[in-house]
Amino acid sequence: MGLKTPLYDTHVREGAKIVDFGGWDMPLHYGSQIEEHHAVRRDAGMFDVSHMCIVDLTGARVREFLRVLLANDVGRLKTPGKALYSCMLLPSGGVIDDLIVYYLSETWFRVVVNAGTRDKDLAWIRRHAADFDVEVVERKELAMIAVQGPNARRKAALLLKPEQQAAVLELKPFFGAAFGSWFVARTGYTGEDGFEIMLPAADAADAWNRLRAQGVAPAGLGARDTLRLEAGMNLYGNDMDENFHPLESGLAWTVAFEPKDRDFIGREALERAQRESGRELVGLLLEDRGVLRSHQKVLVGGGTVAGISGEVTSGTFSPTLNRSIALARVPKTSLPTVQVDIRGKSHAARIVKPPFVRHGKPLIDISQGGLT
């Protein structure tokens, strides 16, 4: 038996198939992963993400602390409520975790880190926070529900009091705000519009049931994975980990090298990597039938040169494109296609630039090649 979120009993009642995810008993799907995926792309779906780790950082020097701890620069956060995506790095440049940080006030920032990395993240944050007199408090009493899809915000706003609804609908992308004991942010992990709602555990089941009554479809970790991959978003542990730095993980855009005097952990290693790195994370679209999966071998340049190869880091069947897509770490190449070894057979895959899908629309051309 694993750890359970405050919504566990609700999932079981909904007929969810429960699986272990980083020590947590979580819903994989509630019947059909593909239907849940489409519900998010076309209408609204909801995910229990209460297993994720919400951490409040408080203190007079909290901004200064985060400018050292994170590869992205919280100095960019000027308006309270604004969120920033960042990696937290080892001195080697390897990624400890990716996270979202919210600027709430000059003495209070909130970060949300992955469930599977909770212990090492908290240990790392605490170790460095001590030097800045920053207090680190894990908000275990909060649950989190992500409501995602073109109709998600409209439906989720109805959870709030009438006088709060206009304000929550006015939240701009990547902003959050407190509504009583709830914190609602216009963020997500699907490539659709929506909210992530942090709320007291005691409120979670009621909020879930009210969303259900609005026609919001429960969606499991399976759909969460296909949605995030279509959206070209990395998954920690698949697409990056402590052995790879952000520049070879498709995350160069999250590293703030300017201003030059900001000495964040991992900076020196990344400056070296900027000059030396020969690998990059690319998107792949499988030209044939079949499904790309993580750890499949990718051959660049016809595969005739020994040792010149890469690996699929995340692969799946894309329900929106009806084709298989992947992220893969490969040697930098100007070739348009690579070969992927799928169960002993070589298949052509086209290199494409993620995201594959955003706001319900395919962003890559799937008319060439493809299924017969």
Partner: protein
Amino acid sequence: MSNNIPSDLKYTKSHEWVRQAQNGALEVGITDHAQSALGDLVFVEVPDVGRALKAGEACAVVESVKAASDVYSPLAGKVVANNGALIAKPELLNEDPYGAGWLFRLETSGSVDAGEFMSASAYESFVAEEAK
């Protein structure tokens, strides 16, 4: 867990079902339990007609959003038909694993009554045992 096990079929430990078809051929598919465990199927590869199969040979692939799984030929024989409809509509296998979701038909000198196949009740116990 979905677990419909028709009593008129025979079963293998690798979760195929086998049906004696009218013309002497054997029809092969995967069980309701197997399709449910795999989840939504997105890709099915069936063996070509005319292909000679050994007993236990991997001859078809059923792939879901979650995983790819081999299907094994329950007996030695020659493929006389395959279910091409699954190529365009793999979800047929989720919806109707013992009917529209059949995979292939095998011409064989072997018999469904051979000792290595399980009855429905034996398969039910086998699945329950595996789940422990």
